[in-house]
């Protein structure tokens, strides 16, 4: 069975390595073959960008060589996909090569879409790329106090990021001795401070305790960079001195160009993870249109499920289990405290009070991630 994985991010990499370990024998006998196509020779640990923005990690700590992360049996090409011919079971790449497959997995991820909001790219700091995270750190260093507004676009990657950056900024300003000259104002698109009700029940009194103001039902419409005002779709506006954006995201252009899904999100079966209407095409991570968190953890648990199923398809001819919607997200609640939210399609999370030990667990996971990427954890 020829398995072609398009995308070398968290989902694609965990899947490829997990699958290679399960199919060790079959890969050596030629019964199975795994090929990965990626746009980059480097693999980035994207959750680390939050720490780069606050000076807690350096950019070079976030990268590993993709080839060296992969099991040696996996065929790897830095050659992004350009044309998906699903009826012919083949993918054509930028270099002009054609890759046939029996099973295709699409895990191309998502991208920030600053240009969808007028004024946002010139006015706001964000931390979703290496360049922007470093820029944000330098801007924070220069900041001497004023009104800091957090804005949140929809949809966005990492649903905990709005809360995490808010709590971490609070402690950052406190450590620099400028908290008394700083007002942090948090905005959020729906009618509470977080989409997860139990997380909002914890975060709202935390905001009140820390003196962080908040405004809900605030969807960013436009930013007046000259007047330093951000306006909402709901008709309200708020001034800022420093604007921190969790920007809206889109799927990758190649997905839209090939007509695989509007906005770059591919219609996906929530349990089997196959592309709707296609039995031999599967979708992982941010690329799906599933109504669950766009987060590395989601891609990780989906990849675990899919690896088990694809291995079973090779070995016994059918998949063995459904994806249950499992997600686990750490939530940094400041510079040295954290909690977490774990949930699935049936069970909402019930976050516990933040602890230092959970923060250190998260800090450790920032290193342990490389074991996850290798399909070991």
């Amino acid at each position: 069975m020829k398995i072609l994985i398009v995308g070398g991010g968290m989902g694609g990499t965990i899947l490829a390595n997990n699958l290679a370990r399960r199919l060790h024998e079959e890969l050596h006998t030629g019964k199975a073959r795994i090929t990965m196509l990626s746009a980059s020779e480097r693999h980035m640990y994207q959750p680390g960008l939050l720490y780069v923005a606050l000076g807690h990690m350096m950019p070079d700590e976030l990268y590993r060589d993709q080839r060296r992360l992969l099991e040696p049996e996996i065929e790897f090409h830095v050659d992004p996909a350009e044309e998906f011919s699903l009826d012919q079971h083949q993918v054509r790449t930028k270099s002009g090569k054609t890759y046939p497959y029996d099973v295709l997995v699409i895990a191309t991820g998502s991208r920030i879409f600053l240009e969808g909001t007028p004024g946002l790219s010139e006015a706001a700091e964000c931390f979703y790329t290496e360049q922007s995270a470093v820029h944000m750190f330098k801007r924070l260093q220069e900041f001497q106090g004023g009104r800091v507004v957090i804005s949140v676009g929809v949809p966005h990657k990492c649903p905990m990021a709005p809360l995490e950056i808010t709590f971490m900024l609070h402690d950052y300003f406190k450590d620099r001795g400028i908290l008394e000259k700083t007002q942090i104002h948090y905005t959020y698109p729906i009618g509470r401070t977080h989409s997860l009700e139990n997380v909002a029940k914890w975060a709202t009194p935390e905001f009140e305790r820390l003196g962080i103001t908040y405004e809900t039902l605030f969807n960013v419409k436009e930013v007046d960079a000259r007047g330093k005002v951000i306006r909402s779709e709901e008709g309200t506006e708020t001034p800022y001195d420093l604007l921190i954006s969790i920007p809206a995201h889109k799927g990758m252009e190649v997905i839209e160009k090939n007509g695989l899904g509007k906005g770059g999100w591919i219609p996906t079966d929530r349990y089997h993870l196959n592309m709707e209407g296609r039995d031999n095409v599967f979708v992982l991570g941010d690329t799906t249109n599933l109504p669950i968190s766009k987060a590395g953890s989601t891609a990780h648990f989906e990849a675990d499920t899919l690896a088990g199923n694809l291995a079973a398809m090779v070995k016994i001819g059918s998949p063995v289990r459904d994806y249950d919607g499992k997600v686990f997200c750490f939530i940094e609640a400041g510079k040295d405290r954290a909690t977490y939210a774990m949930f699935d399609y049936q069970h909402p999370p019930s976050p516990k009070p933040p602890t230092k030990s959970m923060h250190w667990f998260k800090t450790a996971y920032n290193r342990l991630y490389w074991a996850s990427a290798r399909g070991l954890l």
Partner: protein, 78 residues
């Protein structure tokens, strides 16, 4: 009666980002005049969604509960 094509958003079992956030995201991709039907197993959505729809200025077409799933229909107006 015009036979409208309705885009269904199945947000049942969605705790995060949740039904309203899903609707907001899908409305961005929809055409003006298009009707979207949000399916939600969260009873809070039956209250939250109309509040937001009215505040932003889209058209609330109806909300019905069937077998523990709320069917909320909205027309994009801008």
């Amino acid at each position: 009666m015009v036979n409208e094509k309705i885009k269904v958003i199945d947000a049942t079992g969605s705790f995060c980002p949740g039904p309203l956030m899903e609707l907001i995201a899908q409305l961005k991709e929809a055409e003006i005049g298009e009707v979207l039907e949000l399916l939600s197993s969260d009873k809070g959505s039956a209250q939250d969604v109309p509040v937001w729809i009215n505040k932003v200025g889209h058209e609330m077409l109806g909300s019905e509960e069937s077998g523990g799933v709320w069917h909320i229909r909205v027309r994009k107006l801008k």
